[in-house]
Subunit: 175 residues, 2 copies
DNA sequence: TATCTAATATTAGATAGCTAACAATTAATG
DNA sequence: CATTAATTGTTAGCTATCTAATATTAGATA
């Protein structure tokens, strides 16, 4: 087994071809999660909260629906995360424009403070992750991932159109 | 927003640099999961079972410990998955070589049968995922992912050596 | 205005992953 | 041989995600 593939086990190579990429992506996602979590946990922010905070730091005052869409998470997931974040004092949730349905989330001073504390940690995690990759390799990596995401989203949409109910992906499957 | 980035939301570009890759990897892993699950579900095999089946198809009779390591999942996870797979008749679990600790898993005829039924579905999912990527792009994608995985594993190991307890990644964070 | 439809949020329940603690067996050591 | 350490498996309990079903409000239409 060569150096480059040190971390890849036999189950990845039992088939030549593309199957292996699914495995690599899964492991990379797991690694990113854990690397970020090591750092974020020092500030007592969970990974899910981090996702929503990042979106709010860029655009404060989004509704729960908008947040769940941008985070690519379901509404109940956003709901419980936002409730928790309000309890922790990172955000407040309230209606705006006289619309009693939409619940908008607004960062508190503490929520903004977290940005300065947490972002350097995340940047560090990502610099570590791509160490040793050239700019060109990183560019192709980004492009390839974006293409795959689009392909897979279309695949899921096609299945939905064909009436195939997309089964739940519960638990922690991407680890 | 250009075509290539259609599926990427604003939270990905709020920082130039590497952070975006973590996001792309997460979304790609999610897409792979769902794409596979759409297909596997037609045969009533969960994603977790699929992971262990793939390993057994390549090397039958592995112990629970070996299976959990190759799958990059914890032992309790392997344990419950294997118990379930035995109930479903895909494998049998038994001791070998007079060692009463090790529980080895052996595929049943039904377990082997699943290989022929499921592998084409997974190959299809992966062909869809990488459609539009040249062979060279796929090669660089594989290499880049492998490098990142190694970097992130080393990062986690370093943290462990420094005495940083790696916090759990519960729930479904990679979605 | 009244009624229907769409949008949004909430609640309830299920599940696969995780950690931690325990049990049982095997190997190592005095 | 007895005791300790290492290995392996098991059980218990937690949690973030998901789907499904429900409630509430806003908008559209007769």
């Amino acid at each position: 087994m060569n150096e480059q593939n040190r971390c890849i086990d036999a189950s990845d190579v039992c088939r030549p071809g593309n199957e292996r990429i699914a495995r690599l992506v899964r492991l990379a996602a797991r690694g990113f999660n854990r690397s970020l979590q090591i750092r974020l946990n020092t500030e007592k922010v969970t990974f899910g909260q981090w996702i929503f905070l990042r979106i709010l730091w860029q655009e404060d005052g989004l509704s729960q629906r908008e947040l769940s869409e941008r985070a690519h998470l379901t509404e109940p997931t956003a709901h419980t995360a936002l409730i928790r974040m309000e309890e922790l004092g990172y955000i407040v949730r309230r209606n705006v424009e006289g619309n009693k349905r939409r619940q908008h989330a607004f960062l508190t001073p503490r929520g903004w403070e977290l940005r300065d504390q947490l972002e350097p940690l995340a940047v560090e995690a990502n610099e570590i992750a791509v160490a040793g990759l050239s700019a060109e390799e990183q560019r192709i990596l980004r492009k390839a991932l974006a293409v795959m995401i689009r392909n897979l989203e279309n695949d899921e949409a096609d299945a939905a159109r064909r009436g195939v109910r997309v089964p739940p992906t519960k638990g922690n499957p991407a680890q």
